[in-house]
């Protein structure tokens, strides 16, 4: 089985993006997860819907909306372009953003499920021991939600590898630069290169297998 240099680049980009987007999404994911799992407030269902949005919309549409937002004429993209002189669209950064947005709901849902299952009694016990809500969050809620967080991470990571619709919109499909594994596979499908499709699918599968296997080993107590 021979792998071309662009395919190697795609693989390495995919893996980097998957990790990076997890790291970037974890803080807002934890915040949103905590709000949804542990708080009640008016508009909670709205926040919930907002978080789920990228999942409810076809990824290509999310990508389209992202493009509108991040483009040089867009609200965010324009601002960044004027202030920093950099462009987001068609860069690996755009890939990271697209992948992050799309996998965000998966991560958050996992976190919500995990945090919902942390008994409020343990959190209360921590507070009687003098822990502020912030300390309780980091020392009790967060670590005890690990199953859900891992679940969300697995979903988010897997989706990162497979994300395609939004990525292709905001990042283009520039081999060696913004072409992820998913885009490479997509291209191969479209070109009818079945052998290439199978080879790339196999590689993506192996990456996922390794990630899942490591997660399992790592979380076994």
């Amino acid at each position: 089985m021979r792998i071309t240099p662009t395919e190697v680049a795609a693989l390495s980009l995919s893996i980097k993006v998957a990790f990076l987007s997890l790291v970037i999404m974890l803080p807002p994911g934890l915040l949103a997860g905590w709000l949804l799992a542990k708080r009640t407030f008016p508009g909670k269902a709205l926040l919930n819907t907002f978080v789920m949005w990228p999942l409810v919309l076809p990824p290509i549409v999310s990508g389209y909306l992202l493009l509108i937002l991040l483009g040089r004429h867009g609200f965010i993209g324009g601002l960044i372009y004027r202030v920093f002189g950099i462009e987001i669209v068609f860069t690996p950064l755009a890939v990271v953003i697209a992948v992050s947005v799309i996998s965000f709901p998966l991560l958050v849902r996992g976190i919500v499920t995990g945090m919902e299952s942390v008994p409020v009694e343990l959190e209360n016990a921590a507070r009687t021991l003098g822990a502020s809500p912030v300390k309780v969050f980091w020392t009790i809620t967060f670590p005890l939600a690990y199953r859900g967080i891992i679940g969300g991470t697995i979903l988010g990571f897997s989706k990162s590898l497979g994300e395609f619709g939004a990525t292709i919109m905001v990042a283009g499909n520039i081999p060696g630069k913004t072409q992820t594994m998913a885009l490479a596979i997509f291209s191969a499908v479209h070109l009818g290169e079945d052998a290439s499709v199978y080879r790339l699918v196999f590689i993506a599968t192996v990456v996922a297998f390794i990630a899942l296997w490591l997660t399992e080993r790592f979380t076994l107590r």
Binding site: E121, N124, A125, A126, R127, T128, L129, G130, L144
Partner: protein
């Protein structure tokens, strides 16, 4: 105003069809709350700790208002700094025993002592799942002690421990109370624990405080007969040591001009120790010269006789102490006991238990 460790409780809390309503002030270092299962003891502690918010009323710790529905004050638990030993333990399952203990205070001054007394040093590196029920309970106690709390709330902390362990832990709690001046609010269904620890006891039934007082008052007061029947009666005396004989295993206490012999305790002469005697462990005799193995034959005077059900309750004044005594009607008739009669109280040394101090 008021002493800084006065605790004022005046609030109401409903849970389903159950309703807790308290209005009392705890003035003492160790207050015990006694009551049958489901009477509202844990609910009370939850409200005081701040983990449960009352429906209305006020809770104050000295000058500090912890909760007041009128002014909207509700101090969060972490600001109250009350060490709470939960009935269910609530150890953190993802932390080792050592980490659990350090949770409230990374450099606890007291924890080495506590760890020794509670005999948990062996499994500091284990996780709660790897402990036995009683071990978990002890870790929960150590965790609350280690945080150096302003007050200790303890919900049946010794329920699943054997008596030998209890007998080692209770003196330590006394030590905590004395040395660190930590008030303790102690919930139990075991009167003996309340006796051993508390300065004041509250009887709670069906969400309301039914009676309160010094633990032995609570028992000897004629009004407290139901309590006595519920918990098993005891007499508590505070008496100074006059002599101690380690070899013979005996210590003599001074009760007025008379002497009370108890099992040996390692205490300086003249120190005052509290001792407990159950009402049914005291016999009455009219003859001081009994050839009997009982060590104590104390002269006293019957203050009152009280026929309750199938037993006669006597209140006997021995020197300045009232002793509650429970005997059969037959014995009363046979000895022709009546008020003001001088009698001898016969008590085995081993029937006298020293309370912890």
């Amino acid at each position: 105003m008021g002493d800084s460790t006065n605790i004022r409780l005046n609030f109401r809390k409903s849970l389903g069809s159950f309703s807790l309503e308290v209005n009392c002030t705890l003035r003492t270092k160790v207050s015990a709350f006694l009551g049958v299962s489901g009477s509202g003891k844990s609910t009370l502690l939850n409200c005081i700790s701040g983990t449960l918010t009352p429906d209305e009323g006020e809770i104050a710790f000295g000058d500090e208002v912890l909760y007041a529905s009128a002014s909207g004050i509700n101090l969060p638990p972490e600001k109250r700094r009350f060490g709470y030993v939960f009935q269910e333990g609530y150890l953190f399952p993802h932390l080792t025993v050592a980490q659990n203990i350090r949770y409230g205070q990374p450099n606890p001054r007291k924890s080495t002592d506590a760890i020794t007394v509670l005999e948990i040093g062996e499994f500091l590196q284990q996780y709660p799942k790897e402990l036995s029920g009683g071990q978990r309970q002890r870790v929960a106690i150590a965790r609350a002690l280690a945080m150096e709390p302003r007050m200790l709330l303890m919900d049946e902390p010794l329920a699943s421990l054997d008596s030998a362990l209890k007998d080692r832990i209770i003196p330590y709690l006394h030590h905590v109370k004395e040395v660190f001046e930590t008030p303790i609010l102690y919930v139990t269904h075991a009167f003996s624990e309340a006796m051993a620890l508390a300065d004041e006891a509250f009887l709670i039934a069906d969400g309301a405080i039914m009676a309160s007082g010094e633990p032995h008052q609570l028992l000897t007061a004629p009004s407290a007969m139901p309590i006595a029947q519920m918990t098993g009666v005891e007499n508590i005396l505070f008496l100074p040591v006059t002599a101690s004989d380690k070899a013979r295993g005996l210590t003599a206490l001074e009760i007025g001009d008379q002497s009370l012999i108890i099992p040996y305790i390692d205490v300086e002469v003249d120190e005052v120790v509290p001792v407990a005697i159950r009402a049914e462990d005291i016999m009455i005799s009219l003859d001081p010269n009994l050839a009997i193995s009982a060590r104590n034959i104390l002269l006293g005077k019957i203050q009152c006789l009280d026929v309750k059900g199938d037993r006669t309750w006597l209140s006997i004044l021995v020197e300045w102490h009232h002793l509650a005594v429970k005997i059969t009607h037959e014995a009363r008739e046979q000895l022709q006991l009546r008020e003001d009669l001088e009698v001898y109280c016969v008590i085995k040394a081993s029937a006298i238990n020293r309370l912890w101090d």
